[in-house]
Amino acid sequence: MNLAVRDVRRHLARFVATAAGVGLLLSVVIAMQGIYAGMVDDATILTRAMRADLWVVQRDTRGPFAEASRLDPSTLARVAAVPGVRSARPYTYQLIQRRHHQQVMRIAVVGLGWPDDAGLGLPLVRGRQLQQAHGELIADASLGLGIGAVLPLAGEPYRVVGLTRHALTSGGDSVVFVSVADAALIALDQPAEATVLERQRVVERLRETDLGRGQPALEAVATDPRWRAPALASPPVAAILIAADPLRRDEIRSTMASWGDVTVYSQREEEALLLGGVVERARMQIGLFTVILTLTAAVIVMMVIYNLTLEKTHDLAVLKLMGAPWPRLLGMVVQQAWLLGAIGYAVALAMTTLAFPLFPRRVLITDTIAALAPIATFGLVTLSSLLGLRHVMGIDPASALEG
């Protein structure tokens, strides 16, 4: 006769409710791990999707994700000319916030070096890659835009032609992919008022110079929109992505090491920079939080099991008096702890399946987490039953005779 099961059966509703509570607690512990895993995955998915062998960024920066990086577009031709470089393409990255259909969207705009890079490495789940240099974008599904939807940016309509899944920044923002040229337009987008003010500043600066004072007609020329565009320098890019001959990567790096304006990172270094710079603090925070939560869960489970044992003290004393062997009594406590853990784990599993996808941040249950969670739960409840076992050991069978 299994005493643990009999006891649970007698107080089924209470036991299941307690186990569900434990399960919710476990699900929070798992969620913390999943949030961290999701954050790492989100952070690295962008770099991996670019399929670059080398990342060229502004000298002495950790760009383009960990900090801003600005490279003159002319660098692209210089990089492409380095022996061993098979192809080079520009890359831009910027965060914008727009209101669309009464909803605030925080978007990371990635500029792809179209036509060389039309989004081949992106995790597309629907639609297609970019087929033209202007007016198309690939958006992450988390933005809620469907294929064919139009998103106005920089005063122009951008049609969604492809959807990715889990293309997010380390901050959880959804990513859209456009051509570098479109990314530059979006970056330079400013309201009409700002343009008027900028023109006024140009006129004022001109009037402070001898040239401006001597030739007032220059004011009209300097503020004429027709003259403005060619006068502007090409907007900078954040990085240049290199597809390199595998045997000549070191050679390429040593060549560029002598350039004063760039720093070169391998794909792995770029990911490490991202994780170390952007995610590291969050990792520490989540790690500490997970430790505290795990300890809290252990203490709560321990107290639950101890209380379950405590309220059976008299029954256990009678069973001891009847000569019930130790393994049977201790087994009762441990089996109940395991049952509590099993139900709790099932609840946590249901939460990961049903509730976690609704979380605003991605909760990624990796294979490691999925494998470790039941083992950790088993260990946790087993350890937590020690206090209950100690209580069982200490019960005096003679106390059963004392009424």
Binding site: L319, L321, A398, E402
Partner: protein, 232 residues
């Protein structure tokens, strides 16, 4: 045939120095198989301490307890696996039924039979509950049973491992006169029909005719029962 249980010179003192209380003072007794014995005496006379010593729950500091002719406790030292002795050869009945709260009546009896290593524990539980006329309450939990039903289930439990010694500590204290007499008669029946030795601690003087032997304790000492005409 050896006595079912025999106590020789049991002594036990609680506390030390001036606060010392003598619970057992050189107590000796023997109960033969098939005998139903009563142990009477006022509160604090040492009855429960003797029951604990004879039940291998709390050994006396001095003296010897023999079970079926074999010394199992001597001067407070266990010479055998006492828990095993209890589950295989002893049955306990308490003042309160003390049934395991999360088991049904049948399961309470079945568990005791199982612990005693008896085969077909379920069938045996069914037989005992039938014998004690509580089979119709077999699936009820203790809290839903009346006091009398609980006590009958407790007796069934005490019989489940086919014990050679049943120790009952004031088993009728919570029962009315009729039920009290019925329980005592049941002990007699069990002793005579099944050959078990039964020792019943009781304050109840109304059913003493049921017992084969009467003992009385006073200040930790044991002797034959002396009838007090002032008691009913």
């Amino acid at each position: 045939m050896p006595d079912a249980v025999e106590a020789i010179g049991l002594s036990r003192t609680y506390g030390v120095g001036a606060a010392a209380v003598v619970a057992l003072a050189d107590v000796s007794l023997a109960i033969a198989p098939g005998t139903v014995a009563a142990l009477l005496g006022p509160s604090g006379s040492g009855k429960s301490t003797l029951i604990k010593a004879l039940g291998f729950v709390s050994p006396a500091q001095r003296g010897e307890v023999r079970f079926a002719g074999r010394t199992v406790v001597k001067d407070g030292v266990a010479l055998a696996d006492l828990a095993r002795l209890r589950r295989q050869h002893l049955g306990f009945v308490f003042q309160k039924a003390n049934l395991t709260s999360f088991l049904t009546a049948r399961e309470n009896v079945e568990l005791a039979s199982e612990l005693g290593g008896k085969a077909d524990a379920r069938r045996r539980a069914h037989e005992l509950l039938t014998y004690l006329e509580v089979i119709d309450r077999a699936h009820a939990y203790p809290e839903t049973l009346s006091g009398g039903e609980q006590q009958r289930v407790a007796i069934a439990r005490a019989l489940a491992n086919e014990p050679s010694l049943i120790l009952a500590d004031e088993p009728t204290a919570a029962l009315d006169r009729a039920r009290s007499r019925a329980v005592m008669a049941l002990f007699r029946k069990v002793a005579h029909e099944r050959g078990a030795a039964v020792l019943v601690v009781t304050h109840d003087h109304r059913a003493l005719d049921v017992f084969d032997v009467l003992y009385q304790m006073e200040d930790g000492r044991i002797g034959p029962y002396q009838h007090d005409p002032t008691k009913p």
